[in-house]
Symmetry: C2
Subunit: 158 residues, 2 copies
DNA sequence: GGTAGGCCTTCAAGTAACTTGAGGTTCAAG
DNA sequence: CTTGAACCTCAAGTTACTTGAAGGCCTACC
């Protein structure tokens, strides 16, 4: 059913409509079929592709890397193993990010707790915020795998 | 020991030197003391502050949000509870990101595995890449908490 | 003491990945 | 047939840096 409008696709994939047009412009997604009036129409394929793209973008994979994955995925056969290897690399990077994110979580938990005790009755004079939050935790230069790019989301409403 | 040069600070925190200067310029970190020749000198405080900043940036917290956390942290007393609340929000956002990142991890694992079987002997004609990777997994519009901004890292060497 | 090389300085321009805005068109509902 | 939401294009703005040019400082070796 290639009857989906850009807004529908946007809703289904959690993307802004201008972003979809932008992706088309830079050739990350193929140029959509147009209706008589010039409006874009999409199908289920497009939902899948865009879902994958957004998921990767969320976690900072740069567009060019996603492009290579997606185009590999598009050519059937020939490059299946290549795609697998690329995904493996992605996977390793994701796991690195997971570890780091957990470290940040721990830091924050510790901080909130210490804040609870320290400032219990009301704001105290020294919350040791930097002490608690910014502990070295091992590494300095992160060797963050392939991560780059923005991974941004819309600001929340409230 | 406030004898650290900008390059040392950079190495210790995993930041590029121009980025440090940039942070100073936008007032995210205080203007560093200068030596006679005009070179910046830093101390341990600066390492802590920058470590915290970079950690948050890694996971997409926008600079303005980090700025409010850091300046809260800097004024002792008065705003300890405020800082705690802010960190709580950060924590919630981090946990959301953790969940999503785990979902992406699972997708990738599933994909790599299916690739291993499907393309076992060599590249096959249909790897179901999009099928496997871009499964809906529940939500569409993510409501990702506070995340925005870029969270970028240097590209890896290899 | 001079000079090579590596660090540092400022300032300006470039980049990625969008977002926002202006100004106009299309289309489904009433 | 009109109205209003959703669409279109094109241009400019934004965030968070990165890269480059043109030069200054500083340690080390000859």
């Amino acid at each position: 059913m290639p009857g989906m409008k850009i807004g529908d696709l946007a809703r289904r994939t959690g993307t802004n409509t201008p972003t979809i047009r932008y992706y088309e412009e830079i050739g990350l997604i193929p140029r959509a079929d147009r209706q008589d009036g010039g409006q874009r129409r999409y199908g289920d394929e497009d939902v899948k592709r865009l879902t994958l793209i957004r998921r990767c973008r969320e976690f900072g994979f740069p567009i060019e890397q996603i492009r290579s994955l997606v185009t590999l995925a598009e050519e059937p056969g020939r490059s299946c193993l290549e795609a697998r290897d690329l995904s493996r690399e992605h996977l390793a990077a994701v796991r690195t990010k997971l570890r780091e994110l957990k470290a940040l979580e721990r830091s924050l938990v510790r901080f909130v707790e210490s804040c609870e005790t320290a400032c219990a009755g009301g704001p105290g004079p020294d919350c040791t915020i930097l002490e608690d939050l910014a502990k070295p935790s091992g590494r300095a230069k992160v060797a963050a795998g392939m991560g780059r790019g923005t991974g941004r989301r819309r600001a929340r409403g409230s």
